[in-house]
Each structure stands twice: as structure tokens, then as C-alpha cells.
């Protein structure tokens, strides 16, 4: 069981956690906690959802518990973001395009910090983790409509934030 879950989903769950907490060591700690809960509760897994959504739901709960323990959702700024640079995918063919994508992603990442917790979670699940609306709804224990609404609002908010940044940049130039 452990090997199957690990082989299929470990990197996805880890990425989900590191995008949420933005600190590699912390993400490792939380991933450990996820496995502890998985190993201790696997016998109670009723199969009402897929193993994947069950695993992500546990990861989500572990992350939320962490934030709760902190009393406040302490945001880690980008300077603490322990990027694993060698694992980054180059998404564009030319270095110039890579650079531009990097800037844009940085801005998105920064804007994401201003989203609500729900919006951030949905963006990470839907875009970074490529989870479907149905999967996201199951993991968050929401309706699909709520996922869609939250995603829509998050996209709108991010677009506004990024537009403002661009306008500021244009003014400065």
C-alpha cells in the first residue's frame, strides 16, 4: 500500500504541500505527517473516494492543522521559498521566453499571497496539481459549484492584481 501510494502520488502531494507552505523543510515535515495519518487510518479507508482524493484530503487537513497551530497563517515570503531549481520545467524554447515566464510566474506567486486561503488552495489544486473540479470538490468537501465559483473569483482577483502590477511598471517606464 505504502509503495503504491508513494509511487503514484508522493511527488504530487509534496508539491501541493510545498506550494502551500513555501518551505521545503516544512513541506517534508508535513509530508511525513500525511504518511503517519495514512498508515494509521488506511484500514478505515472506506473507498468512498479514490485513493488519490483521499490522500489529498489528508494532505489538506495536515496543512490546515499546521496553519491553525500557528494561530495565524504566517506567510512565507519568496525569499524563503526553497525552490528546487533543478526540478523546474522549462516551458518555453528560448531563454528570453523562459525569463518572461519566470517574471510572470513570480508575479502570480506574489499575487497568490493576497488571495484568501480557499482561493489559494483551489488555484494550487486546479492548476498546479491539475486536479479536476470533481476531485477538488471531493478533497475540499465542497460542492463542484463552490469550486467553480472560488476558482472564478481567484482568477479574477489574480488578473486584477497582475494588471495593477503591469500598470505600475508601465508608469515607471
Amino acid at each position: 500500500m505504502f509503495h503504491r501510494l508513494y509511487d503514484a502520488y508522493h511527488q504530487d502531494v509534496f508539491q501541493f504541500l510545498i506550494y502551500l507552505v513555501k518551505n521545503r523543510t516544512l513541506a517534508e515535515d508535513l509530508a511525513h505527517e500525511v504518511y503517519v495519518r495514512v498508515l494509521r487510518s488506511y484500514d478505515q479507508f472506506a473507498g468512498n473516494s479514490t485513493e488519490k482524493t483521499w490522500l489529498f484530503a489528508i494532505a489538506k487537513n495536515v496543512a490546515i492543522d499546521h496553519f491553525r497551530k500557528q494561530a495565524v497563517r504566517q506567510k512565507h515570503s519568496l525569499d524563503f521559498f526553497d525552490w528546487e531549481t533543478e526540478q523546474l520545467r522549462s516551458t518555453t524554447p528560448s531563454p528570453e521566453d523562459v525569463l518572461q515566464a519566470s517574471d510572470e510566474f513570480m508575479q502570480v506567486q506574489s499575487a497568490l499571497e493576497h488571495c484568501t486561503g480557499d482561493q489559494k488552495m483551489v488555484i494550487i489544486m486546479r492548476y498546479f496539481q491539475d486536479l479536476s473540479i470533481a476531485e477538488t470538490a471531493q478533497i475540499l468537501d465542497w460542492t463542484e459549484a463552490k469550486v467553480k465559483t472560488t476558482q472564478h473569483r481567484a482568477i479574477k482577483f489574480l488578473r486584477q492584481q497582475l494588471q495593477q502590477v503591469r500598470e505600475q511598471e508601465a508608469k515607471r517606464q
Binding site: 511525513h32 498508515l39 494509521r40 531549481t85 488578473r159
Partner: protein, 435 residues
């Protein structure tokens, strides 16, 4: 970056192409840690896991055949998975005896492709990248490739630690001095979104004291390696352009001179630069408070005139690094402050200036100019150290309300700083976000 309308398609494109971040640890490391967890001492699933082989076996020849060129490696820098041989039988003792290999790992994208398929993304966000050759190629993480990728992608991550005006397009800052284990104050700068402030203070723009009362209790100081210090005991109130702290009869601020210095340091880091010109210390009955351990301490204490510091590196117990004044040592001129940054005064604060780096300081009308005696090649330093050097000098100059220019630096820019010109004045040190 272009400045056209940022539409949903562009945004979704960026989101869909978010960098892949992977766990660098091996499965064995993760299992080892689980085995060491007392909560799983008799867990049958874990016992089952350690008796099974760990990774698929792939021959060295297969790995070598699939090593791509360096260029391919950079272009296809994708999620990777370690492939290692491992004995089938594993006991607890054997697991702890295993050497963790983190260096030269071979990566196989075929496995990765399988993993992606297992995760069944309906529309692969990286489909454009994974042409057949790239998807099949493996990556040899040799040092050259790694350094190239690190260099290329270092642009993704900002090493800056301070807050600048550009961070505040839709936000405000909340300054606070957090108390560290050495009874010193570390100035922190929290960014609070306008949306959050508008929600928290719907009727009126908050004062600095109101901001403090609202946000200071929300900072988990101990979780961040600091002493549980805020909010202050007693009562804080505003009186004209002063802040009044009504101190409880019994308080921890006045038990020793170190405590007083800690207290005053946090007050200065929290309220300097605000509308308050001074802090007045009062007894509950309204009479002036007299510090028993420092009878000469002026009351009220000015917040405006004595905040000319230089900045050093401070590391907490967890290894988290901050830029901070050294024990609130003050200077009368920016030249003195910048020159003094080379000196190590104690074991707590580390100079950000490397020992072999010397420079002269000149004050001009536009700002202060630091000229390095020898051309300073920032690439010879760790990137984070070079950034700390620049930012500590910027912060030092800013504490004198001055901007700084660094001359005789090999690089024309660094971390987005235009080193050919005067650098911006930071708004505050040690950036954090308040949600």
C-alpha cells in the same frame, strides 16, 4: 515583460506552466523517518512496506544510454525520479544502516511519464514540452548542468529580504520589533494587503497603534523562533504626538538592564517612523514611570532622533537569517555606520561584509556612495550573501534617510538592483506577509 492587458488566457497559461517542485529525498529516507516515528511502532502497513523492494531496477547501461546532452537537460528540466537498486529484504536495522545517496542520481523520465499517467491529468500542462524525445530522455545531474539550471532559474526566486515601495502597490506595512533569544529586537516588516486592512478597519484608516493592537497578537512569535513578547503588558495609548505606555506595577521590562534594552529596542523597531515622536512611560496612577535598572533613561524616550544604525546578519536557532542592527548601536553619520559594518562586535551579529572586502564612503547631496577598493565580483560570493551585503548597506543608508550607490562592482545589476545608479531606500527589513 510586456505591458499589454493581462487577460485570463495569459494568466491561465502562466498558472498551467507553474514550475514543478519535487521532493529530493529518496523513498528510503522517507521510510526511515516513518520507522523512527513512535506512533507507527507496530503499524502493519509500515512493516509490510519495509519488507518490499523499493525502486524499480534499471541497469546502468540503460541510464547511460538515456543521458541527454547538457542543452537537452536544461530545456527539458522536468520532474525527476531517482532510480536505484535496493535489496529486497529490509529490516529496521538495515534501513538505518543505509547510506543516503543524494549526490549523483540518475533520473528517468519514463518513470515520470508513468507517474503522470497514473495521475491522469486530463490535459497535461506540460504536453508541449514532452515531445517524444524529451519525454524519453533522462537527465544526468552533473554539476555543470545543475549550475546552469540554478543560474537560469535563480531568476525565479528573489533573494531580497527587505520590503520596497514596489511591494506595496496594494498593501501597507506593519513594522514590529520581535524579541530574540539574545534579548535583542529584530526589526520585522509585515506586508498587509489593503483588502485585509479595509476588512479589519472598515470605517477609518487605522493609526499605528491600532495596527499594532490588531496584528501584533496574530504573529506567532515562538513558531518563528522568537520570544513570546507581544502584545506589550499594560496599556498603550496615544497622547498628542506621543505614545504612552502605562506599565504594570510588576513587569518584566525593568528586571535587568538587558530587559530594558530589549524592551526599548522592540518599541523603537515597532513605532519609529510612525507619527509618534516619543514614547512616554507611565505608572497606572498617571505618574511618570521610573526605570529602577536605568534611572537615567529619559522619559519620554524620543523615537525620531536616535535610530541611525548599521545592519548585520542575525541567525536564529533554526538557521533563519535576518538583517538587523547590532545591539542598537547608533552612529552620528552614515559614513561611520557604513564603515563600521566591517567590524565584528560580538558573537550574535555577523558582519555581512567579507573580511577581504574594503571600501571608502563618500557623502554627496544625492546620497551616499560606497566605492569598493578592489572590483567587487558578486559572483564570487554566495548569491544570498551578496544580496545581504547590498541590502544591509541599503538599510544602513536608509536609517539615515539616504539612498546609496555601490561603485566598483563588477556586475551592473544584481537581484533586480540597478547597481549603476542609486539604489532605492528599503521600506523595512525582513519581509513577511500578514494574511
Amino acid at each position: 515583460m510586456t505591458h499589454n492587458q493581462f487577460d485570463d488566457d495569459q494568466l491561465e497559461h502562466v498558472l498551467n506552466n507553474a514550475p514543478k517542485l519535487s521532493d529530493r529525498r529518496s523513498k528510503e529516507e522517507i521510510l526511515n523517518r516513518l520507522l523512527a516515528d513512535a506512533r507507527l511502532q507496530d503499524n502493519v502497513h509500515l512493516q509490510e512496506a519495509i519488507q518490499q523492494p523499493i525502486d524499480d531496477e534499471i541497469t546502468l547501461q540503460e541510464q547511460q544510454n538515456s543521458i541527454p546532452t547538457q542543452q537537452e537537460s536544461i530545456e527539458t528540466a522536468t520532474t525527476k525520479k531517482k532510480v536505484r537498486k535496493w535489496p529486497i529484504f529490509m529490516s529496521v536495522a538495515a534501513i538505518f544502516a543505509l547510506t543516503v545517496l543524494t549526490g549523483s542520481m540518475f533520473i528517468n523520465n519514463n518513470d515520470n511519464t508513468k507517474m503522470d499517467q497514473a495521475n491522469a491529468p486530463e490535459t497535461s500542462q506540460y504536453s508541449t514540452l514532452q515531445d517524444s524525445s524529451a519525454a524519453k530522455s533522462s537527465v544526468n545531474r552533473d554539476k555543470i548542468m545543475e549550475s546552469n539550471i540554478v543560474a537560469e532559474h535563480s531568476r525565479f526566486m528573489s533573494l531580497r529580504s527587505s520590503v520596497y515601495e514596489e511591494d506595496l502597490t496594494d498593501a501597507v506595512v506593519f513594522h514590529i520589533g520581535l524579541a530574540n533569544r539574545d534579548k535583542k529586537s529584530v526589526p520585522m516588516t509585515y506586508i498587509v494587503s489593503n483588502e485585509r486592512v479595509a476588512t479589519d478597519f472598515p470605517k477609518k484608516k487605522p493609526t499605528t497603534l491600532q495596527m499594532y493592537e490588531k496584528y501584533a497578537p496574530q504573529i506567532d512569535e515562538t513558531a518563528n523562533g522568537f520570544t513570546n513578547y507581544h502584545p506589550y503588558k499594560g496599556e498603550l495609548k496615544e497622547k498628542d504626538d506621543k505614545l504612552v505606555h502605562v506599565l504594570p506595577k510588576e513587569n518584566d521590562y525593568d528586571v535587568a538592564s538587558a530587559n530594558i534594552n530589549e524592551y526599548l529596542g522592540t518599541l523603537k523597531d515597532t513605532f519609529s517612523g510612525s507619527v509618534y515622536k516619543a514614547v512616554e512611560f507611565e505608572n497606572p496612577d498617571g505618574t511618570p514611570y521610573k526605570f529602577s535598572k536605568d534611572e537615567e533613561l529619559s522619559n519620554p524616550m524620543a523615537l525620531t532622533s536616535s535610530n541611525h544604525f548599521n545592519y548585520y546578519l542575525y541567525k536564529d536557532e533554526n538557521g533563519t537569517e535576518y538583517l538587523s542592527p547590532d545591539s542598537r548601536k547608533t552612529f552620528s553619520t552614515v559614513t561611520e555606520a557604513l564603515t563600521d559594518m566591517r567590524n565584528k562586535n560580538d558573537d550574535v551579529y555577523i558582519p555581512v561584509v567579507p573580511e577581504n572586502v574594503t571600501y571608502t564612503v563618500k557623502e554627496e547631496a544625492e546620497g551616499v556612495i560606497v566605492t569598493f577598493d578592489e572590483p567587487l565580483d558578486l559572483t564570487t560570493m554566495e548569491a544570498v550573501r551578496a544580496t545581504q551585503l547590498i541590502e544591509a548597506m541599503m538599510l544602513t543608508a536608509a536609517s539615515f534617510d539616504q539612498q546609496i550607490r555601490l561603485d566598483n562592482v563588477v556586475q551592473e545589476s544584481w537581484e533586480g538592483f540597478d547597481l549603476k545608479n542609486f539604489l532605492p531606500k528599503p521600506v523595512g527589513a525582513n519581509k513577511r506577509y500578514m494574511q
